[in-house]
Amino acid sequence: MLMDIQQHARELGLGLDLFSCIQCGKCTGGCPVSMTTALNVRSLVYGALIGDIAGPVHREELWDCTCCFTCVERCPKDVRPAEVIIALRSLLVEEGKVPSTIGNALMGIFRQGNPLGYAREDRTAWMDGLEVKPAQEGCETLLFTCCSSAYDIRAQAATKALVRVLKAAGMDFGHLGTEETCCGNEVRRLGEMGLFEMLVEEGKPLLEEVGAARMVTTSPHCMNTFRHEYKLGMDVLHYTQWLARLLEQGRLNLTGRVEKVVTYHDPCFLGKQNGIFDEPREVLKAIPGVKFVEMDRIRERSLCCEGGGGRMWFEGTNTEGRLAFQRVQEAADTGAEILAVACPFCMAMLDDATKVKGLSDRLKVMDIAELVAMAL
């Protein structure tokens, strides 16, 4: 295929810099899926540079990328290799050549504001039994729930727990209710730039009208795009950052005990991409009774759960070699009884993996908010 990928990427607002690449292979070497699928981002960067990419149409592995951005973080030359994948995906999107499940997710977001395709008016079903103030009435903190946090049954439990914790801390927070719409973080990474632009155009005024001092998100993915791509006029925090702050200020008192051995999985969009490694650990360590243990691959070397970049809606070209399978085994090997997560995608991928690997009787995947709520 002969076209100027660099130019195309620029038009999409991507920072891809093909010309500074020295083909060192650090991107592919660190790519979590490079050992289990045909995806080779170094080779794609080279092909894009010299204008020799055999039609990406035939490259199903382009959809394997989880957009963990390990390649972007480690690239010595600031090439931003993952963005060549996003640029190539966008070409496929323009041609309508996307895997059907991804097409459905994008359609769901376009029609109902969520990739699961559930009805917009059901977005607040998780609030049943909880009183959550409408943000439109004005609030200091805007709570933004990821589509998964709002609709996915397992993730809903974490969302409810977070609300209980924030209430216990006496926080003034509100929620947009059924007006809340998908942030589009994965939409952009799937290369559906038109839809992403629409989400920003409609979402940004809605979020800013609330007049909140800050936004707290349940998902690192939402936090990431709100921080870096929406450029909102308010602070955007992940909920673990907010909880760490509340604990430090003595506004959140934990009187209960959780007598468990707990380990923690760093979400890529929280850790690698935004450098938030310490706060989730501080929160876990502040829970009375918790014995905190670490896995080997943590922080900047954490293993991706494989749920980002649209992979929640695409099985990938190799379902045998799921990274989440490996990850839950690593967690179980530490002797932990609980694998704490801080992202609804990680929750879904890892929770599922404990079942597949027959580990669910000895390793429970729980959100940090759930563990904090247990100690209230």
Binding site: T28, G30, T70, P76, K77
Partner: protein
């Protein structure tokens, strides 16, 4: 000393030593100032040198002894330049002599003090890159010049806590009464006509690249740590062992921090390709059955005899694999190096018992302070700036001040020595002209008076 104009050489690594010797041999007096207790610098830490495999200490020690004994060199170790005034031909320099707490003219270097020191075997040995332990009173290495013990003020119990048991064990052990805790720092002022700056380099802290697990895994080490591990004068007596075990699988990683604007090191460190080839050779020499893998991005074997050395090392069953590894992690009791072999176009996991990181050469941490002290400019890479990249490569931006060795940019020993000799030659021009001007200057001064 004679009445001839003198030169000041700052830093007594191989570049400073060579520059001082050349000027002294030409008959001019030299003050050679070194902030460590001994001369020798980085080269003293190395095991062998590439590509000839000369023992580093063996070819350095005679030069060290020479600067210690040369009638035209006044050696000032454990000292730092603190002020420089004046101009080419007439600099006035203030040097701070740090207290060793040992009388230089009394110490015979016998080492009984160190054996008796309560901190013996408990102080991190910086000369051995932290791989060994020493006492609070020490010489950095046995061939130190001068062979005079020094009390480490950061480790000595008396100096840090004000008390060291009922009696000073070091003092009791010293047969010459050389130890003196009353010693204070002294300031010495000297007049010199020319200055050579040879302050050397630092190595990047590999923790800036957390993906390699340095600081997490004890068997991930730096190239300089490997030098100490391999050196006969090192903590293992030259045996490549870690925690009592000989590694069977060794992985060397090039370009850790170099060629990487993210870490502030956009340049190539120039020495790593060759010293890693040398390391691979040393491993093969000592561990004939070890599996040795070197990961590289581009192989740069540019010097005389270098490509030939690279060929030789490959012949010695060393696997060169193209690709910069991305991550090191643990599997069982072994390490796994994960990276793409870009020639295979495939990501590979290579198991290792020892991983050696070729960390970037970076400017000394206090380069900016030294630049300010001496009135020098730094180039964008942070090293001292030469006056012209082609025609004035050893002159600094300040007349009368010359650059030698790695303080101007990364270079290997032959280049450092060549630059030192060039700096000495340039300084000699100033010294010679100053000597000719001296009678005239004397007249001028008289007229002013």
């Amino acid at each position: 000393m004679t009445h001839k104009p003198a030169a000041l050489v700052i830093g007594a690594g191989i570049a400073g030593i060579q520059a001082a010797l050349d000027i002294a041999d030409a008959g001019f007096p030299v003050y050679l100032v070194e902030r460590e207790p001994s001369v020798g610098g980085r080269m003293a830490q190395l095991d062998k040198t590439f590509p000839t495999l000369d023992c580093s200490s063996c070819i350095l020690t005679p030069k060290m002894v020479n600067v210690g004994q040369h009638p035209n060199i006044e050696l000032m170790t454990y000292s730092e330049v603190v002020a420089v005034e004046g101009e080419a031909g007439a600099f006035h320099v203030t040097i701070r002599k740090k207290p060793r707490y040992v009388e230089e003219d009394l110490c015979r270097g016998c080492g009984l003090c160190a054996q008796e020191c309560r901190m013996h075997g408990r102080v991190v040995d910086t000369f051995n890159q932290g791989l060994g332990k020493r006492a609070a009173i020490y010489v950095p290495f046995p061939q130190a010049v001068p062979l005079i013990y020094t009390v480490d003020p950061t480790a000595c119990l008396y100096l840090t806590r004000g008390v060291c048991g009922k009696t000073f064990k070091c003092k009791d052990a010293c047969p010459t009464g050389a130890i003196n805790f009353e010693q204070k720092e002294r300031f010495v002022e000297v007049d010199v006509a020319a200055i050579i700056v040879a302050t050397g380099f630092d190595l990047m802290d590999p923790r800036t690249k957390p993906e390699f697990g340095y600081g997490v895994y004890p068997n991930v080490i730096t190239g300089l740590e490997f030098e100490r591990l391999s050196s006969a004068s090192g903590p293992t007596g030259g045996k490549i062992v870690l925690n009592g075990k000989e590694p069977q699988d060794m992985v060397f990683i090039h370009c850790v921090g170099s060629r990487d604007p993210h870490t502030g090191v956009p340049y190539c460190s120039r020495i790593c390709c060759m010293y890693t080839a040398k390391h691979a050779h040393l491993v093969r020499d000592k561990l004939p059955n070890a599996r040795i893998t070197v990961f590289y991005i581009d192989m740069r074997a540019f010097g005389k005899g270098y490509e030939e050395f690279y060929d030789r090392v490959k012949e010695e069953r060393v696997f060169y694999r193209r690709g910069e590894p991305s991550e090191v992690y643990r599997r069982g009791d072994r390490l796994v190096v994960r990276g793409e072999d870009s020639l295979l176009g495939r990501t590979v996991e290579v198991e290792a018992d020892l991983v050696v990181l070729a960390t970037a050469v970076v400017p000394r941490a206090d380069t900016l302070a030294v630049a300010e002290l001496l009135g020098l400019a730094c180039s964008p890479d942070g090293f001292f700036q030469e006056a012209h990249p082609k025609y004035r490569p050893v002159e600094s931006t300040r007349p009368g001040v010359f650059l030698a060795g790695c303080c101007q940019g990364p270079k290997d020993i032959p280049d450092a020595v060549a630059q030192a000799k060039a700096a000495a030659a340039s300084a000699l021009v100033v010294l010679k002209n100053t000597a000719q001007d001296l009678p005239q200057r004397h007249e001028d001064t008289k007229k002013k008076l």
